[in-house]
């Protein structure tokens, strides 16, 4: 008997060593040849037959677990059900979406739509929103085989999560599948723990890492984007030498001059230079919410120097619509009611969330200001033309922009729910951040999304302007250019 016990123990140890030794996270593939025209980048994606650049729409899905995923799903339903006429053709507003930038919980909705399109409305609720993802993760964690695998220093809880997402939600899809679907361009955001900077799963970032994104699993990118600190562990990538023929993005040249250090362009170049420095042999990624819990920074970068900027300067974008789906919660201020100072756990939680919430507010404010700056430049130009016409008819006029841009920043958040009959904002603001909500909570989140969108004054203006244009009517007086940002 004793011999059997010893034999069983030896077998167990051998198995443990074998499992632990074999277990390693999925490594991103090295890219031998650089090709600026292919890979998962905006300019390489097919726009599709129903998408015009004149109406350019980007969505931003915030973090917030299943709460964020359900709210963004509700917004997708609303966009699907909204039919507009652009260039004389009827189309769904959803088909006009050009990019989605997402963080954490919002990344599940964004990636699922990017991969499976209208299948989102058939089975996403069942596949993700109404599933107890946390429970499934816990069961995988305590599976004896996985306990052995977790003994490896190169395999951790996030790898179990990524395997679950890959098998049960994303059907083993890679970024090549996202690429073949064309627009919208889905930017899954994570945070580089080494550099303390935002990271995005796009070929531009992978180019700097000498790596191919097309062969990488979407599930692993979503896992990185939603790797909540302490509960989950980082997703790790290899940083290879750059591929033969690599060229930095156009805005990178001369951007790192020391006197430019206060500019956003310098900051963006610093962000990329982290990966061009090959002493940084590995990249360790966690929840995108640590560096931007809204997903706004990727869109702001595209507006400042990316695919939105090039299209504005070419005069291709007439209407730029940015919809921020912010599932931020916010319990009432109970701390200020107490004479006793808050304890260690409360202070620790506040340390994580206060900075994040303020940064999110600043990110959306930054979007509004950047777009309104364009509106003001256009107004200045028109005022100058009017004055010249009045005072010096026939004189030389200023050189115009390629096209006038009519921008909109539409923010959806739970605070606005209080203005909708039958809704109580408190209900939504008190919902937990987790990957397990009950059916009633999911249903309420999904159904409040379209109500919040339709109640937004900025969205109503967009709709009125699109309707008037389709009918050949003048622009509604109550919605001048700029009303899509500030009333």
């Amino acid at each position: 008997m004793k011999r059997y016990v010893i034999a069983a123990a030896v077998v167990a140890v051998v198995l443990a060593v074998a499992f632990a030794g074999c277990s390693h996270y999925t490594v991103n593939e090295r890219n031998p040849d650089f090709d600026a025209e292919s890979g998962y980048r905006f300019d390489a994606l097919d726009a599709g037959p129903d998408n015009s650049d004149s109406l350019f729409i980007c969505l931003m899905f915030s973090g917030g677990g299943t709460r964020a995923a359900a709210l963004s799903y509700g917004i997708m339903e609303a966009l699907r059900d909204t039919v507009i006429r652009v260039d004389g053709r009827e189309r769904r507003l959803l088909d006009e979406v050009d990019c989605i930038s997402s963080v954490s919980g919002g990344s599940f909705t964004a990636a699922y739509y990017g991969l499976f399109r209208d299948r989102l409305f058939e089975d996403f609720r069942e596949q993700f929103l109404e599933r107890d993802i946390q429970g499934r993760l816990a069961r995988r964690l305590f599976n004896p085989v996985n306990l052995f695998r977790l003994a490896s220093p190169y395999f951790s809880r996030i790898d179990l999560a990524a395997e679950l997402y890959d098998r049960d939600i994303f059907d083993g899809a890679g970024f090549d599948d996202l690429e073949s679907g064309g627009r919208p361009f889905v930017i899954l955001n994570a945070t580089n723990l080494g550099a303390d900077r935002r990271f995005e799963f796009t070929q531009e970032y992978f180019d700097a890492m000498g790596s191919r994104l097309d062969s990488y699993q979407v599930a692993r990118a979503v896992a990185a984007s939603s790797a909540f600190p302490f509960l989950l562990t980082p997703v790790s990538l290899e940083n290879y030498p750059v591929a033969d023929g690599y060229r930095e993005p156009w805005w990178y040249k001369n951007a790192l001059e020391p006197e430019s250090w206060i500019t956003q362009r310098y900051n963006a170049a610093k962000n990329l230079s982290v990966y061009l420095d090959k002493e940084n042999s590995h990249v360790h990624l966690m929840d995108g919410g640590l560096s931007d819990n809204i997903g706004a920074r990727a869109v702001l970068d595209a507006f400042d120097r990316g695919f939105i900027r090039t299209r504005i300067n070419r005069g291709e974008i007439k209407r730029l619509v940015l919809i921020v789906v912010n599932a931020r919660t916010g319990g009432g201020d109970t701390l200020s009611l107490s004479e006793k100072p808050p304890g260690l756990i409360t202070v620790a939680a506040k340390t994580a969330t206060v900075a994040m919430d303020n940064y999110s507010y600043d990110s959306v404010a930054g979007l509004r200001e950047a777009l309104y700056e364009r509106v003001q430049a256009q107004k200045d130009e028109q005022a100058c033309l009017d004055l010249l016409e009045k005072q010096c008819p026939g004189s030389v006029t200023p050189v115009p922009f390629a096209a006038e841009v009519d921008p909109y920043v539409i923010e959806i958040n739970f605070e606005a729910a209080g203005q909708i009959p039958g809704e109580d904002s408190r209900y939504y603001l008190d919902l937990p951040t987790s990957f397990k909500l009950n059916e009633e909570q999911v249903e309420k989140l999904v159904s409040v999304g379209p109500k919040l969108l339709k109640a937004s004054p900025r969205y109503r203006c967009l709709f009125k302007v699109l309707e008037a244009e389709a009918e050949g009517l003048p622009r509604p007086e109550e919605c001048p250019v700029g009303a899509g940002i500030y009333p």
Partner: protein, 74 residues
């Protein structure tokens, strides 16, 4: 964030290249971040100079920086 303004003058409508990236047309106002860039035109190569280095700063929408290319071979 803060934008600067650039107009590239040329007798014809021609694509403008900023650091090698096609970015709008000649004789139209371009909106860019401040800093140093290399400006050129798209094909055909019947313009001079070949490129112009600029340090784009201190402009406004009504007083953009102007860069002029002339027709002619290199």
């Amino acid at each position: 964030m803060a934008k600067e303004y650039l107009v590239v003058l040329f007798p014809r409508a021609r694509r403008v290249k900023i650091n090698g990236q096609f970015m709008g047309m000649t004789n139209r106002k371009l909106e860019l971040e401040g800093g140093r860039y290399e400006v050129a035109l798209g094909q055909p190569f019947n313009f001079t100079p070949e490129t112009v280095e600029i340090d784009l700063r201190n402009t406004s929408s009504l007083t953009p920086m102007t860069v002029e290319f002339m027709e002619g071979s290199k």
